[in-house]
Amino acid sequence: MLSWLLLLCSAGVIAAQSQPYGFGQPATAADTAQKDLTVFPNGKGLPSGKGTADQGATIYKEKCAECHNEKGEGRPGQYPALVGGIGSLTSAKPLKTVGSFWPHATTVWDYIRRAMPFDHPRSLSADEAYAVTAFVLHLNGLVERTQELNEKTLPAVKMPNRDGFVPDRRPDIKSKR
Protein backbone atom coordinates (compact mmCIF):
# COMPACT_ATOMS: atom_id res chain seq x y z
CA MET A 1 0.00 0.00 0.00
CA LEU A 2 2.76 2.38 0.98
CA SER A 3 4.83 1.57 -2.10
CA TRP A 4 1.75 1.99 -4.25
CA LEU A 5 1.19 5.41 -2.75
CA LEU A 6 4.82 6.35 -3.28
CA LEU A 7 4.58 5.24 -6.90
CA LEU A 8 1.54 7.46 -7.41
CA CYS A 9 3.28 10.40 -5.78
CA SER A 10 6.45 10.06 -7.82
CA ALA A 11 4.39 9.67 -11.00
CA GLY A 12 2.75 12.95 -10.09
CA VAL A 13 6.10 14.65 -9.57
CA ILE A 14 7.39 13.36 -12.91
CA ALA A 15 4.26 14.58 -14.68
CA ALA A 16 4.65 18.00 -13.07
CA GLN A 17 8.25 18.25 -14.27
CA SER A 18 7.99 16.84 -17.79
CA GLN A 19 5.51 19.40 -19.07
CA PRO A 20 6.39 23.03 -19.73
CA TYR A 21 5.41 25.27 -16.83
CA GLY A 22 4.10 27.89 -19.19
CA PHE A 23 5.70 30.75 -17.31
CA GLY A 24 7.06 33.84 -19.02
CA GLN A 25 5.98 35.66 -22.16
CA PRO A 26 7.02 34.97 -25.75
CA ALA A 27 9.89 37.32 -26.54
CA THR A 28 9.28 39.67 -29.44
CA ALA A 29 11.77 41.03 -31.96
CA ALA A 30 11.50 44.31 -30.05
CA ASP A 31 12.57 42.60 -26.80
CA THR A 32 15.70 41.32 -28.52
CA ALA A 33 16.39 44.60 -30.36
CA GLN A 34 16.22 46.51 -27.08
CA LYS A 35 19.07 44.45 -25.59
CA ASP A 36 20.96 43.31 -28.68
CA LEU A 37 24.55 44.46 -28.08
CA THR A 38 26.62 41.29 -28.49
CA VAL A 39 29.21 41.36 -31.25
CA PHE A 40 31.16 38.23 -32.17
CA PRO A 41 34.70 37.95 -33.59
CA ASN A 42 33.31 37.02 -37.02
CA GLY A 43 31.35 40.27 -37.12
CA LYS A 44 27.98 38.76 -36.30
CA GLY A 45 26.00 41.33 -34.36
CA LEU A 46 27.70 44.37 -35.88
CA PRO A 47 25.19 46.93 -37.14
CA SER A 48 25.79 48.64 -40.47
CA GLY A 49 27.74 51.86 -40.22
CA LYS A 50 31.12 53.35 -40.98
CA GLY A 51 33.85 55.60 -39.68
CA THR A 52 37.52 56.52 -40.08
CA ALA A 53 40.31 57.32 -37.65
CA ASP A 54 40.25 60.94 -38.85
CA GLN A 55 36.57 61.19 -37.90
CA GLY A 56 37.23 59.35 -34.66
CA ALA A 57 40.01 61.73 -33.60
CA THR A 58 37.51 64.53 -33.03
CA ILE A 59 35.15 62.36 -31.00
CA TYR A 60 38.04 60.89 -29.04
CA LYS A 61 39.37 64.32 -28.10
CA GLU A 62 35.95 65.39 -26.86
CA LYS A 63 34.75 62.20 -25.14
CA CYS A 64 37.69 59.88 -24.42
CA ALA A 65 40.90 61.86 -23.89
CA GLU A 66 39.93 63.07 -20.42
CA CYS A 67 40.54 59.55 -19.12
CA HIS A 68 42.62 57.77 -21.74
CA ASN A 69 44.85 60.79 -22.44
CA GLU A 70 45.68 62.54 -25.72
CA LYS A 71 47.38 59.64 -27.44
CA GLY A 72 45.80 56.71 -25.61
CA GLU A 73 48.56 56.49 -23.03
CA GLY A 74 45.99 56.37 -20.21
CA ARG A 75 46.45 57.65 -16.68
CA PRO A 76 48.38 55.18 -14.54
CA GLY A 77 46.44 53.61 -11.68
CA GLN A 78 43.12 55.03 -12.86
CA TYR A 79 42.42 54.67 -16.57
CA PRO A 80 44.05 52.05 -18.73
CA ALA A 81 46.40 52.74 -21.61
CA LEU A 82 45.00 51.86 -25.04
CA VAL A 83 48.32 51.97 -26.83
CA GLY A 84 51.77 50.46 -26.51
CA GLY A 85 53.19 47.38 -24.87
CA ILE A 86 53.61 45.32 -28.04
CA GLY A 87 56.37 42.83 -27.29
CA SER A 88 56.11 43.40 -23.52
CA LEU A 89 54.00 40.38 -22.57
CA THR A 90 56.97 38.23 -21.57
CA SER A 91 58.75 41.05 -19.74
CA ALA A 92 58.73 41.76 -16.01
CA LYS A 93 56.28 44.61 -16.63
CA PRO A 94 53.84 43.58 -19.33
CA LEU A 95 51.65 46.39 -20.65
CA LYS A 96 48.32 44.93 -21.72
CA THR A 97 46.60 47.30 -24.17
CA VAL A 98 44.26 47.08 -27.16
CA GLY A 99 47.36 46.93 -29.33
CA SER A 100 49.44 44.49 -27.34
CA PHE A 101 46.82 42.17 -25.84
CA TRP A 102 43.27 42.35 -27.21
CA PRO A 103 42.85 39.47 -29.69
CA HIS A 104 39.83 40.76 -31.67
CA ALA A 105 39.01 44.17 -33.14
CA THR A 106 35.32 43.36 -32.71
CA THR A 107 35.81 43.32 -28.93
CA VAL A 108 37.07 46.90 -29.08
CA TRP A 109 33.97 47.98 -30.96
CA ASP A 110 31.66 45.99 -28.69
CA TYR A 111 33.21 47.40 -25.52
CA ILE A 112 33.23 50.99 -26.78
CA ARG A 113 29.58 50.77 -27.75
CA ARG A 114 28.30 49.05 -24.60
CA ALA A 115 30.47 50.63 -21.92
CA MET A 116 32.01 53.88 -23.20
CA PRO A 117 32.27 56.79 -22.58
CA PHE A 118 32.47 55.56 -19.01
CA ASP A 119 29.98 58.05 -17.56
CA HIS A 120 27.64 58.00 -20.60
CA PRO A 121 27.75 54.45 -21.95
CA ARG A 122 25.78 53.62 -25.09
CA SER A 123 25.58 57.28 -26.08
CA LEU A 124 27.68 56.80 -29.25
CA SER A 125 25.96 56.09 -32.56
CA ALA A 126 27.10 53.11 -34.63
CA ASP A 127 29.05 55.43 -36.96
CA GLU A 128 30.73 57.13 -33.98
CA ALA A 129 31.68 53.73 -32.53
CA TYR A 130 33.27 52.71 -35.86
CA ALA A 131 35.13 56.02 -35.98
CA VAL A 132 36.43 55.86 -32.40
CA THR A 133 37.41 52.22 -32.85
CA ALA A 134 39.28 53.18 -36.02
CA PHE A 135 41.09 55.96 -34.12
CA VAL A 136 42.12 53.65 -31.27
CA LEU A 137 43.34 51.06 -33.77
CA HIS A 138 45.13 53.82 -35.70
CA LEU A 139 46.93 54.93 -32.51
CA ASN A 140 48.23 51.37 -32.40
CA GLY A 141 49.34 51.49 -36.02
CA LEU A 142 46.77 48.93 -37.10
CA VAL A 143 44.65 50.98 -39.55
CA GLU A 144 45.33 54.00 -41.75
CA ARG A 145 43.93 57.44 -40.93
CA THR A 146 41.44 57.41 -43.78
CA GLN A 147 40.71 53.66 -43.84
CA GLU A 148 36.97 53.08 -43.47
CA LEU A 149 35.89 50.62 -40.82
CA ASN A 150 32.45 49.12 -41.20
CA GLU A 151 30.67 45.88 -40.39
CA LYS A 152 32.64 44.08 -43.10
CA THR A 153 36.13 45.53 -42.67
CA LEU A 154 36.29 45.66 -38.84
CA PRO A 155 36.34 41.86 -38.28
CA ALA A 156 39.11 41.60 -40.90
CA VAL A 157 41.54 43.74 -38.88
CA LYS A 158 44.26 41.38 -37.68
CA MET A 159 45.22 42.14 -34.08
CA PRO A 160 48.87 41.57 -33.08
CA ASN A 161 47.94 39.24 -30.20
CA ARG A 162 45.31 37.30 -32.15
CA ASP A 163 47.02 34.00 -31.34
CA GLY A 164 48.04 34.94 -27.81
CA PHE A 165 45.40 32.92 -25.95
CA VAL A 166 45.26 29.28 -24.97
CA PRO A 167 42.40 27.35 -23.35
CA ASP A 168 42.31 26.80 -19.59
CA ARG A 169 44.89 24.12 -18.87
CA ARG A 170 44.47 24.02 -15.11
CA PRO A 171 45.06 22.28 -12.83
CA ASP A 172 48.52 23.15 -14.12
CA ILE A 173 50.39 23.31 -10.79
CA LYS A 174 51.55 20.00 -9.36
CA SER A 175 52.17 20.61 -5.67
CA LYS A 176 54.25 18.34 -3.49
CA ARG A 177 53.65 17.51 0.16
Binding site: Q17, P20, Y21, F23, G24, Q25, P26, A27, D31, T32, K35, L37, T38, V39, F40, P41, N42, C67, Q78, Y79, L89, T90, A92, P94, K96, V98, F101, W102, P103, H104, T106, T107, D110, Y111, R114, A115, F118, D119, P121, R122, G164, F165, V166, P167, D168, R169, R170, P171, D172, I173, K174, S175, K176, R177
Partner: protein, 398 residues
Protein backbone atom coordinates in the same frame (compact mmCIF):
# COMPACT_ATOMS: atom_id res chain seq x y z
CA UNK B 1 -13.92 37.10 4.15
CA UNK B 2 -12.65 40.63 3.75
CA UNK B 3 -15.80 42.09 5.32
CA UNK B 4 -15.51 39.79 8.31
CA UNK B 5 -11.98 40.97 8.90
CA UNK B 6 -12.72 44.62 8.54
CA UNK B 7 -14.05 45.44 12.03
CA UNK B 8 -11.13 43.80 13.90
CA UNK B 9 -8.71 45.51 11.53
CA UNK B 10 -10.29 48.83 12.37
CA UNK B 11 -9.97 48.09 16.06
CA UNK B 12 -6.33 47.14 15.50
CA UNK B 13 -5.65 50.40 13.70
CA UNK B 14 -7.31 52.30 16.50
CA UNK B 15 -5.20 50.41 19.03
CA UNK B 16 -2.10 51.23 16.97
CA UNK B 17 -2.99 54.90 17.01
CA UNK B 18 -3.39 54.91 20.78
CA UNK B 19 -0.10 53.02 21.20
CA UNK B 20 1.60 55.58 18.97
CA UNK B 21 0.19 58.25 21.23
CA UNK B 22 1.61 56.43 24.25
CA UNK B 23 5.03 56.25 22.57
CA UNK B 24 4.99 59.99 22.00
CA UNK B 25 4.02 60.49 25.62
CA UNK B 26 6.92 58.27 26.76
CA UNK B 27 9.37 60.27 24.67
CA UNK B 28 8.17 63.49 26.22
CA UNK B 29 8.75 62.27 29.73
CA UNK B 30 11.33 59.48 29.80
CA UNK B 31 11.04 57.53 33.00
CA UNK B 32 14.01 55.50 34.25
CA UNK B 33 13.68 52.07 32.65
CA UNK B 34 15.79 48.97 32.05
CA UNK B 35 13.60 47.67 29.25
CA UNK B 36 15.84 49.03 26.46
CA UNK B 37 15.24 50.62 23.11
CA UNK B 38 12.20 50.53 20.88
CA UNK B 39 11.69 47.57 18.60
CA UNK B 40 12.32 48.11 14.92
CA UNK B 41 11.02 46.65 11.71
CA UNK B 42 14.41 45.97 10.15
CA UNK B 43 17.28 45.22 12.48
CA UNK B 44 20.65 46.84 12.81
CA UNK B 45 23.74 45.51 14.53
CA UNK B 46 24.92 46.86 17.87
CA UNK B 47 26.52 50.30 17.63
CA UNK B 48 29.55 48.74 19.32
CA UNK B 49 30.24 46.58 16.24
CA UNK B 50 32.37 48.41 13.70
CA UNK B 51 33.48 45.86 11.06
CA UNK B 52 33.22 47.36 7.60
CA UNK B 53 34.27 46.64 4.07
CA UNK B 54 37.35 48.44 2.77
CA UNK B 55 36.09 50.41 -0.21
CA UNK B 56 38.29 51.31 -3.13
CA UNK B 57 36.56 53.36 -5.81
CA UNK B 58 38.53 53.46 -9.00
CA UNK B 59 37.09 55.95 -11.39
CA UNK B 60 34.84 58.91 -11.90
CA UNK B 61 31.84 56.63 -12.28
CA UNK B 62 30.11 56.38 -8.90
CA UNK B 63 30.25 53.05 -7.13
CA UNK B 64 32.79 51.53 -9.49
CA UNK B 65 35.64 49.60 -7.94
CA UNK B 66 35.80 47.05 -5.17
CA UNK B 67 35.12 46.57 -1.49
CA UNK B 68 36.62 43.81 0.60
CA UNK B 69 35.06 41.63 3.26
CA UNK B 70 36.66 41.92 6.74
CA UNK B 71 37.36 38.17 6.94
CA UNK B 72 39.50 38.55 10.04
CA UNK B 73 36.55 39.81 12.08
CA UNK B 74 33.89 37.31 10.99
CA UNK B 75 32.77 33.93 12.32
CA UNK B 76 31.40 30.76 10.76
CA UNK B 77 31.05 30.54 6.98
CA UNK B 78 28.20 32.89 6.09
CA UNK B 79 29.19 36.43 5.19
CA UNK B 80 26.63 38.96 6.40
CA UNK B 81 25.00 40.36 3.24
CA UNK B 82 26.00 43.91 4.22
CA UNK B 83 29.65 42.82 4.31
CA UNK B 84 29.70 40.72 1.12
CA UNK B 85 32.55 41.88 -1.11
CA UNK B 86 31.81 44.00 -4.15
CA UNK B 87 33.42 44.42 -7.54
CA UNK B 88 31.52 46.65 -9.92
CA UNK B 89 32.73 47.61 -13.38
CA UNK B 90 30.11 50.30 -14.05
CA UNK B 91 28.49 51.10 -10.72
CA UNK B 92 25.37 49.72 -9.04
CA UNK B 93 22.20 50.29 -11.07
CA UNK B 94 18.91 51.14 -9.36
CA UNK B 95 16.56 48.60 -10.91
CA UNK B 96 12.80 48.45 -10.44
CA UNK B 97 11.95 44.78 -9.84
CA UNK B 98 8.46 45.27 -11.27
CA UNK B 99 9.91 46.48 -14.56
CA UNK B 100 12.87 44.09 -14.72
CA UNK B 101 12.73 41.36 -17.37
CA UNK B 102 15.07 38.49 -18.14
CA UNK B 103 15.26 37.82 -21.87
CA UNK B 104 16.18 34.27 -22.92
CA UNK B 105 16.76 34.24 -26.66
CA UNK B 106 19.06 33.13 -29.43
CA UNK B 107 19.29 29.40 -30.17
CA UNK B 108 16.13 28.38 -28.34
CA UNK B 109 12.83 27.02 -29.57
CA UNK B 110 10.78 29.55 -27.63
CA UNK B 111 12.44 32.92 -26.89
CA UNK B 112 10.91 34.12 -23.63
CA UNK B 113 10.93 37.04 -21.24
CA UNK B 114 10.47 36.48 -17.53
CA UNK B 115 9.40 38.84 -14.81
CA UNK B 116 10.63 38.27 -11.27
CA UNK B 117 7.20 36.90 -10.41
CA UNK B 118 7.48 34.43 -13.29
CA UNK B 119 10.88 33.20 -12.10
CA UNK B 120 9.66 32.81 -8.53
CA UNK B 121 6.88 30.48 -9.71
CA UNK B 122 9.41 27.88 -10.89
CA UNK B 123 10.63 25.22 -8.44
CA UNK B 124 13.19 26.92 -6.20
CA UNK B 125 16.45 25.76 -4.71
CA UNK B 126 18.85 27.08 -2.10
CA UNK B 127 22.56 26.51 -1.93
CA UNK B 128 25.38 27.79 0.22
CA UNK B 129 28.30 28.71 -2.00
CA UNK B 130 31.25 31.02 -2.05
CA UNK B 131 31.85 33.72 -4.58
CA UNK B 132 35.45 34.78 -5.08
CA UNK B 133 36.59 37.48 -7.45
CA UNK B 134 39.00 36.17 -10.06
CA UNK B 135 41.21 39.09 -9.06
CA UNK B 136 41.27 38.29 -5.34
CA UNK B 137 44.90 38.62 -4.17
CA UNK B 138 46.00 40.25 -7.43
CA UNK B 139 49.60 41.24 -6.77
CA UNK B 140 49.85 39.04 -3.67
CA UNK B 141 52.61 36.76 -4.99
CA UNK B 142 54.83 39.79 -5.42
CA UNK B 143 53.53 42.22 -2.82
CA UNK B 144 52.91 40.57 0.59
CA UNK B 145 49.64 42.22 1.47
CA UNK B 146 49.52 43.05 5.20
CA UNK B 147 46.12 41.75 6.34
CA UNK B 148 43.56 39.16 5.33
CA UNK B 149 40.98 41.74 4.31
CA UNK B 150 43.39 43.20 1.76
CA UNK B 151 44.85 39.85 0.70
CA UNK B 152 41.71 37.66 0.58
CA UNK B 153 38.73 40.00 1.09
CA UNK B 154 37.25 39.47 -2.39
CA UNK B 155 35.84 36.19 -1.07
CA UNK B 156 32.42 35.85 0.56
CA UNK B 157 29.97 33.02 1.16
CA UNK B 158 26.18 33.17 1.28
CA UNK B 159 23.11 31.02 1.05
CA UNK B 160 21.61 31.81 -2.34
CA UNK B 161 18.08 30.97 -3.44
CA UNK B 162 16.62 30.95 -6.91
CA UNK B 163 15.61 28.73 -9.79
CA UNK B 164 17.92 26.15 -11.35
CA UNK B 165 18.92 27.48 -14.75
CA UNK B 166 18.40 24.08 -16.37
CA UNK B 167 14.67 24.41 -15.66
CA UNK B 168 14.45 27.83 -17.29
CA UNK B 169 16.48 26.73 -20.32
CA UNK B 170 14.27 23.66 -20.71
CA UNK B 171 11.25 25.96 -20.68
CA UNK B 172 12.75 27.92 -23.58
CA UNK B 173 13.87 24.73 -25.36
CA UNK B 174 17.61 24.64 -26.11
CA UNK B 175 18.50 23.97 -29.73
CA UNK B 176 21.22 21.31 -30.14
CA UNK B 177 23.69 23.81 -31.62
CA UNK B 178 23.51 26.05 -28.53
CA UNK B 179 26.90 25.57 -26.89
CA UNK B 180 27.51 28.96 -25.27
CA UNK B 181 25.36 31.41 -23.38
CA UNK B 182 26.08 35.14 -23.25
CA UNK B 183 25.01 36.44 -19.82
CA UNK B 184 24.53 40.21 -19.71
CA UNK B 185 23.82 42.55 -16.81
CA UNK B 186 21.77 45.74 -16.75
CA UNK B 187 24.56 47.81 -15.20
CA UNK B 188 25.57 50.97 -17.04
CA UNK B 189 28.30 49.14 -19.01
CA UNK B 190 26.08 46.09 -19.75
CA UNK B 191 28.84 43.76 -18.59
CA UNK B 192 28.69 40.40 -20.32
CA UNK B 193 30.40 37.03 -20.12
CA UNK B 194 30.28 33.93 -22.32
CA UNK B 195 29.39 30.80 -20.37
CA UNK B 196 29.53 27.23 -21.69
CA UNK B 197 26.04 25.70 -21.82
CA UNK B 198 27.44 22.64 -20.02
CA UNK B 199 27.84 24.76 -16.86
CA UNK B 200 24.42 26.33 -17.36
CA UNK B 201 22.86 22.86 -17.38
CA UNK B 202 25.02 21.52 -14.55
CA UNK B 203 24.62 23.51 -11.33
CA UNK B 204 23.96 27.10 -12.42
CA UNK B 205 20.98 28.94 -11.04
CA UNK B 206 19.30 32.30 -11.22
CA UNK B 207 19.40 33.78 -7.74
CA UNK B 208 16.90 36.29 -6.44
CA UNK B 209 17.67 35.86 -2.75
CA UNK B 210 20.72 35.91 -0.51
CA UNK B 211 20.77 34.82 3.12
CA UNK B 212 17.00 34.58 3.26
CA UNK B 213 16.03 37.96 1.80
CA UNK B 214 16.09 39.61 -1.60
CA UNK B 215 19.53 40.19 -3.11
CA UNK B 216 21.24 43.40 -2.04
CA UNK B 217 21.48 45.98 -4.86
CA UNK B 218 25.26 45.59 -4.88
CA UNK B 219 24.82 41.83 -5.27
CA UNK B 220 22.70 42.14 -8.39
CA UNK B 221 19.19 43.02 -7.24
CA UNK B 222 16.81 41.80 -8.39
CA UNK B 223 18.49 38.87 -10.23
CA UNK B 224 21.95 37.47 -10.70
CA UNK B 225 23.55 34.45 -12.29
CA UNK B 226 25.05 32.01 -9.79
CA UNK B 227 27.76 29.66 -11.10
CA UNK B 228 28.97 27.68 -8.07
CA UNK B 229 32.75 27.55 -7.83
CA UNK B 230 33.40 29.84 -10.80
CA UNK B 231 35.14 33.21 -10.68
CA UNK B 232 33.00 36.04 -9.34
CA UNK B 233 32.87 37.97 -12.59
CA UNK B 234 30.97 35.18 -14.35
CA UNK B 235 28.20 35.36 -11.71
CA UNK B 236 26.68 38.22 -13.68
CA UNK B 237 24.70 40.66 -11.54
CA UNK B 238 21.54 42.58 -12.52
CA UNK B 239 21.02 39.81 -15.08
CA UNK B 240 18.73 40.86 -17.93
CA UNK B 241 19.66 38.65 -20.86
CA UNK B 242 20.77 35.10 -21.58
CA UNK B 243 21.59 34.79 -25.27
CA UNK B 244 22.10 31.20 -26.44
CA UNK B 245 24.71 30.99 -29.19
CA UNK B 246 27.25 28.66 -30.80
CA UNK B 247 30.46 30.55 -29.94
CA UNK B 248 31.84 32.81 -27.22
CA UNK B 249 31.56 36.57 -27.78
CA UNK B 250 35.15 37.23 -26.69
CA UNK B 251 33.90 40.14 -24.61
CA UNK B 252 36.32 42.54 -22.96
CA UNK B 253 36.00 40.81 -19.61
CA UNK B 254 37.01 37.44 -21.05
CA UNK B 255 39.91 38.67 -23.18
CA UNK B 256 41.42 41.93 -21.87
CA UNK B 257 40.60 40.97 -18.26
CA UNK B 258 40.23 37.75 -16.27
CA UNK B 259 42.74 35.91 -18.46
CA UNK B 260 45.97 34.56 -16.98
CA UNK B 261 49.15 35.82 -18.66
CA UNK B 262 51.78 33.11 -18.47
CA UNK B 263 55.57 33.46 -18.53
CA UNK B 264 55.70 32.52 -22.24
CA UNK B 265 53.49 35.49 -23.12
CA UNK B 266 50.39 33.40 -23.84
CA UNK B 267 47.31 33.92 -21.70
CA UNK B 268 45.10 31.12 -20.41
CA UNK B 269 41.50 31.98 -21.25
CA UNK B 270 38.13 30.92 -19.83
CA UNK B 271 39.82 30.01 -16.56
CA UNK B 272 36.50 29.76 -14.78
CA UNK B 273 37.05 27.53 -11.74
CA UNK B 274 38.42 29.06 -8.55
CA UNK B 275 40.93 26.46 -7.41
CA UNK B 276 41.23 25.24 -3.81
CA UNK B 277 42.49 27.73 -1.31
CA UNK B 278 42.65 28.35 2.43
CA UNK B 279 43.73 31.15 4.73
CA UNK B 280 44.05 31.69 8.47
CA UNK B 281 41.76 34.54 9.46
CA UNK B 282 42.65 34.53 13.19
CA UNK B 283 45.35 35.21 14.16
CA UNK B 284 46.16 37.14 10.97
CA UNK B 285 47.92 40.28 9.82
CA UNK B 286 47.14 43.40 11.83
CA UNK B 287 45.82 41.45 14.83
CA UNK B 288 47.64 41.05 18.16
CA UNK B 289 47.78 38.07 20.50
CA UNK B 290 47.13 39.07 24.12
CA UNK B 291 49.98 36.90 25.37
CA UNK B 292 51.32 33.35 25.55
CA UNK B 293 48.89 30.53 26.20
CA UNK B 294 45.89 29.09 24.39
CA UNK B 295 44.87 30.58 21.05
CA UNK B 296 42.52 29.02 18.54
CA UNK B 297 43.82 29.20 15.00
CA UNK B 298 40.87 29.45 12.64
CA UNK B 299 40.21 30.28 9.04
CA UNK B 300 38.40 29.40 5.85
CA UNK B 301 38.99 26.95 3.03
CA UNK B 302 37.12 26.63 -0.26
CA UNK B 303 37.39 24.98 -3.66
CA UNK B 304 35.62 25.54 -6.95
CA UNK B 305 36.25 21.88 -7.79
CA UNK B 306 34.08 20.53 -4.95
CA UNK B 307 34.35 19.82 -1.24
CA UNK B 308 37.32 20.59 0.95
CA UNK B 309 38.72 17.26 2.16
CA UNK B 310 41.48 18.40 4.48
CA UNK B 311 43.07 21.49 6.00
CA UNK B 312 46.47 21.30 7.65
CA UNK B 313 48.02 23.90 9.93
CA UNK B 314 51.67 24.54 10.69
CA UNK B 315 52.83 26.61 13.68
CA UNK B 316 56.55 26.12 13.06
CA UNK B 317 57.10 27.80 9.69
CA UNK B 318 56.09 24.76 7.69
CA UNK B 319 58.40 22.19 9.30
CA UNK B 320 55.48 20.11 10.56
CA UNK B 321 51.78 20.08 9.69
CA UNK B 322 48.75 18.80 11.60
CA UNK B 323 45.13 18.35 10.57
CA UNK B 324 42.71 21.07 11.53
CA UNK B 325 39.13 20.28 12.51
CA UNK B 326 36.58 21.02 9.78
CA UNK B 327 33.28 22.45 10.98
CA UNK B 328 30.32 20.45 9.65
CA UNK B 329 28.59 20.64 7.28
CA UNK B 330 31.35 20.57 4.70
CA UNK B 331 29.60 21.71 1.52
CA UNK B 332 30.73 21.51 -2.08
CA UNK B 333 31.89 24.86 -3.51
CA UNK B 334 31.22 26.58 -0.19
CA UNK B 335 33.54 28.05 2.41
CA UNK B 336 34.50 25.69 5.22
CA UNK B 337 35.49 26.89 8.69
CA UNK B 338 38.52 25.13 10.17
CA UNK B 339 39.89 25.28 13.67
CA UNK B 340 43.14 24.26 15.29
CA UNK B 341 43.92 24.54 19.02
CA UNK B 342 47.30 26.10 19.73
CA UNK B 343 49.34 26.97 22.80
CA UNK B 344 51.66 29.83 21.91
CA UNK B 345 54.96 29.84 23.81
CA UNK B 346 55.47 33.55 23.27
CA UNK B 347 58.31 33.12 20.78
CA UNK B 348 58.33 34.46 17.23
CA UNK B 349 57.06 31.92 14.73
CA UNK B 350 55.27 31.55 11.41
CA UNK B 351 51.82 29.98 11.10
CA UNK B 352 50.19 28.83 7.88
CA UNK B 353 47.48 26.56 6.51
CA UNK B 354 47.11 24.50 3.36
CA UNK B 355 44.14 22.58 1.97
CA UNK B 356 43.32 19.58 -0.17
CA UNK B 357 39.98 19.15 -1.92
CA UNK B 358 38.00 16.01 -2.72
CA UNK B 359 39.53 15.79 -6.19
CA UNK B 360 42.98 15.51 -4.62
CA UNK B 361 43.95 19.03 -5.66
CA UNK B 362 46.61 20.45 -3.32
CA UNK B 363 46.82 24.17 -2.57
CA UNK B 364 50.24 25.23 -3.87
CA UNK B 365 52.92 27.16 -2.07
CA UNK B 366 53.68 30.64 -3.32
CA UNK B 367 56.86 29.33 -4.98
CA UNK B 368 55.06 26.42 -6.65
CA UNK B 369 52.51 28.87 -8.04
CA UNK B 370 55.13 31.28 -9.35
CA UNK B 371 57.19 28.44 -10.87
CA UNK B 372 54.31 27.64 -13.23
CA UNK B 373 52.44 30.91 -13.72
CA UNK B 374 55.11 33.50 -13.03
CA UNK B 375 54.37 36.91 -11.53
CA UNK B 376 52.30 38.36 -14.38
CA UNK B 377 49.20 36.14 -14.31
CA UNK B 378 47.43 38.40 -11.80
CA UNK B 379 44.18 36.47 -11.57
CA UNK B 380 43.40 33.26 -9.70
CA UNK B 381 46.31 33.37 -7.22
CA UNK B 382 45.76 30.69 -4.58
CA UNK B 383 49.12 30.20 -2.88
CA UNK B 384 49.62 29.39 0.80
CA UNK B 385 49.60 32.55 2.95
CA UNK B 386 51.94 32.48 5.96
CA UNK B 387 51.59 34.89 8.90
CA UNK B 388 54.44 35.84 11.22
CA UNK B 389 53.56 35.93 14.91
CA UNK B 390 56.07 38.29 16.48
CA UNK B 391 57.28 37.99 20.08
CA UNK B 392 55.17 41.01 21.09
CA UNK B 393 52.06 39.22 19.80
CA UNK B 394 51.63 41.34 16.68
CA UNK B 395 50.91 39.46 13.46
CA UNK B 396 52.35 40.46 10.09
CA UNK B 397 52.82 38.93 6.66
CA UNK B 398 55.65 36.42 6.69
Amino acid sequence: MTEELTPPRRRFLALGASLAGAVVACRKAPAPSESGAHMRGYGERSPHEKSVRVVRELTKSLGTGSSRTPLGELHGIITPSALHFERHHSGVPALDPAAHRLLVDGLVERPLTFSLDDLKRFPSASRVCFIECGGNSIGEPGANLPDVQKSHGLLSCSEWTGVPLSIVLKEAGLKPEATWMIAEGADAGRMSRSIPVSKALDDAFLAYAQNGEALRPEQGYPLRLLLPGWEGNTNVKWLHRLQLVDQPAMSAKETANYTDLMPDGKAQQFTFVMEARSVITRPSGGQKLAGPGFHEITGLAWSGYGKIARVEVSTDAGQTWADAELQAPVLSKAAVRFRYPWRWDGKETVIACRCTDETGYLQPTRDEFIAVRGLNSGYHYNGIKPWRVNADGTVTHA
